[in-house]
Subunit: 339 residues, 2 copies
Amino acid sequence: MKQRTTLKDVAKEAGVSVTMASRVLGNYGYFSEETKSKVLKAAEKLNYRPNIIARGLRVRETKAIGVIISDVLSFFFTTLVRGIEDVANQSGYSVILCNSDEDPKKERSYLSALYERGVDGLIVSPSTGNYSYLKKLSRGGMPLVLVDRKIRGLAVPTVIVDNEAGSYEAVNYLISSGHRRIGIITGLKGVMTSEERLAGYKRALKENGLPVDEKLIKEGDYRREKAKEAALEFLRMKNPPTALFVCNEPMTSGALLALREKKVKIPEQMAIIGFDDPVWAPLTEPALSTVSQPSYAMGTLACQTLLKEIRQTGCTKISPEDIILKPKLIIRESSGERP
Amino acid sequence: MKQRTTLKDVAKEAGVSVTMASRVLGNYGYFSEETKSKVLKAAEKLNYRPNIIARGLRVRETKAIGVIISDVLSFFFTTLVRGIEDVANQSGYSVILCNSDEDPKKERSYLSALYERGVDGLIVSPSTGNYSYLKKLSRGGMPLVLVDRKIRGLAVPTVIVDNEAGSYEAVNYLISSGHRRIGIITGLKGVMTSEERLAGYKRALKENGLPVDEKLIKEGDYRREKAKEAALEFLRMKNPPTALFVCNEPMTSGALLALREKKVKIPEQMAIIGFDDPVWAPLTEPALSTVSQPSYAMGTLACQTLLKEIRQTGCTKISPEDIILKPKLIIRESSGERP
DNA sequence: TTGTAAGCGTTATCAT
DNA sequence: ATGATAACGCTTACAA
């Protein structure tokens, strides 16, 4: 790349020292009106743009934050990322985005890369497996905010949703609509949200005096394919469930695909509620009932929290509190009518 | 943030000079086996990680690329971005993502920010209005690849799809199914893809001897809301079209929402084909026919091309060729059956 | 008010 | 094979 204009060039053009040029452009310290105008004119003329990398080296900040999520392709994370970026960019921070695909190795390598890049902070939706490295980073002073998923024993601000409650509400709705055999396709094993959503399912059953039938619990991995398989398996059962609760959006699309393939009538033969409320939920036939997470708000909150953390580094930290948002059950048509 | 371990620390620990430590860790130049093992041991012990910002200052590269698109929230760009990131990260580059929202001011400010950040290259899906600045950047030596949208007079590699052909094929299909009045909701005015998709629509009409009726052309802005309005307007016409061609995914969801609200039977009362093939296309009722763009491949290609450009900087450049991919018409149910 | 010089963490040059 | 030393572009004591 062609030689950029540097402060030195500006200083020379203006006939002042590099220091003075820096002062004027950075607008700090003392300088005369005359110097100011000379420097500004020179900067303008040479089309000077500061090199924030060089500045960063000096002041030890990069004005960049790293974001690690499992996959931008899923609606929840896309929206979350958009929220993060909007806040970050408004405050002059750039966002470096990484997809871990739930792979701890990939996640680990991104964490290292972001650390080497000297990001000022990190927003992570942790997969399973790098807890100790995350702890090390955090203790080492790296501002860190977790989002969507909490890590026990890691005292950093965490923005989550009350998964258990969301799940409970959905399943409870199905039960109150008369369903007695409700299947669930769970998320990736070992991930907090999966466990919580499953827990809400179980609690709803129990509180309504229904048995927890292990055959009605199929393990998914938060991806579409496996969920489609799981749905097909449900359909092959001699005594299939009459309703399905699916724990995230990609899996819900998989389940819907399976039902459609098998020409299962929704909600008559199979009612369904999915976690996450993508734009397309009102467009399926029948329109999909969902548990909606405030994903954009989660992004903005996470980023605001991170920026606070970054400003606070060095200060004595108050022990961080989790920010827990409420998901919302949105009843459309796929869940069937209440009798 | 706590003091990071630097090369100096490693050198001291190993009892060698900083230079030697750098040589071993960077694996260049000469060093003895003994030095090597001492340095490696020290680095390991102190948990040394290079500071790529500092390195970047010295070698004038940041191993980061900037990506500016209009909005990650739309399926096409989400997938494109995923393609870019996969390639970039495999090659050790980080991706800085920015959403311009089709706003030239925002785009401009991101371009500046990325330049100041010293990114090694840029992948841009340009909105309208910063052509001259982009040209300046490119002429100034910034490796640049355009994606999805071409800029006339800017000779940089561009990865696009044959929009005109995709559009032509879709509209032609509708005509051959017996439709004579076909409405179109176009994209944002001034954007290349909008014009090309409209051109394909017009050509299909003309080649089939049908008139181009301006009342059947409604201007959208690539967003959902305005497209929904446009669809409603179509429905209010005394002589509404019998088929609709909608020029991107968010707008298609808007149109579908409108049709559903008004309980319009698809495809009987209104056939519809949308540009872009999101995951949810097979899930609507009836399943949505679409023009599918290879968005992931566009992302990987764009990034591969950019990396090539980056490696070539300085060399005499061969004049770049556009990479033009073919969109694919996917017929499902919403387009109606051929008679 | 202004300028000199040191330093941020690397790598490249040049002696040794 | 090794190590001073300078340089990358910027900020910031400190001195003038």
